[in-house]
Subunit: 152 residues, 2 copies
DNA sequence: TACAGTCCGTGGACGCCATCGACCTGAGCC
DNA sequence: GGCTCAGGTCGATGGCGTCCACGGACTGTA
């Protein structure tokens, strides 16, 4: 993991569909060299995936909500997590410090669907309570940090 | 925007580096047809970007925090937003319903950097107070919803 | 019905790209 | 020195991206 790897990561975070030839030109190596470096970054898990970022409204997911979850004292955290994992509306799941053990980001089409999701969450064994905040608009999301910090 | 477009979106959300030829095979069209459809999805803004998803720890960003912002009654929301936009640590920014006008997701390298970020946020004109929760671990993030809902 | 226009696809062509193997070079180590 | 290995370049080749000409389905109009 050197400066060239960091440039590659930055380029691919900006546009994941750049060709190896183009990446090679940008970092000043040959295409096969870049191919091998990117392959290693993928294999070692530094690059987790390549994703197209889709406008949520365009696929009928206009409602974004952030939901804090307070866990039941008796519940099994793994079971709760597994239940969350089975709910496709939950796009992100963070295990938090604080009273609320989890913070979920969910995306649904309508407020009615959000209501159903909250009901399902409250019924989930191990969940003591939920606290939902609705996002009126997403100013930006998953913005790549422009420069990677100095590296060891 | 028909069923084929939705399949293309789903395929590209799963792997943004699929070739047009491969996409064409999956949806049963020719490569040029897919090329044109994807081009239109990009032009119309349905596809916002293609991003490589990078393991944050691997680039020295091991600390994730979610920060709620209460706005000053006198402040200008646009100015506050602009100030946030200039802080690269802020990866996502939602405008919320509720007492806290914004929810920010920030990623930094160390707790010390988080402290500096919070100080900067509290000093920002228009910000009345902040409430920071630290994510101990990210269970998952930006998971693509498996199937797009029925479409009009 | 006939006709023209539009949309959206296919197939062919051509140049660039991905990818493989062979080879080169410098660093580290006996 | 000479071995080994990591990591690069170069050259070849098959597949891919992309442009263009063409054609069928649908629609509105005479």
């Amino acid at each position: 993991m050197d400066a060239i790897d960091l440039s590659l990561l930055e380029l691919l975070r900006g546009n994941a569909r750049l060709s190896y030839a183009e990446l090679a030109r940008q970092v000043g190596l040959s295409a096969p060299a870049v191919h091998e470096r990117v392959g290693k970054l993928e294999a070692s898990g530094v690059i987790r995936a390549y994703r197209a970022e889709v406008e949520p409204e365009a696929v009928g997911l206009g409602v974004t909500a952030l939901i804090g979850i307070v866990e039941d004292s008796g519940g099994d955290t793994d079971d709760v997590l597994e239940a969350f994992r089975r709910m496709p509306e939950i796009e992100s799941c963070y295990f938090m410090a604080g009273v609320e053990s989890f913070l979920l980001k969910a995306r649904v089409g309508t407020i009615a669907e959000l209501e159903q999701l909250i009901v399902r969450l409250n019924r989930t064994p191990g969940v003591a309570s939920t606290r939902t905040s609705i996002a009126l608009s997403t100013k930006w999301e998953n913005r790549p940090q422009p420069v990677a910090p100095p590296f060891t």
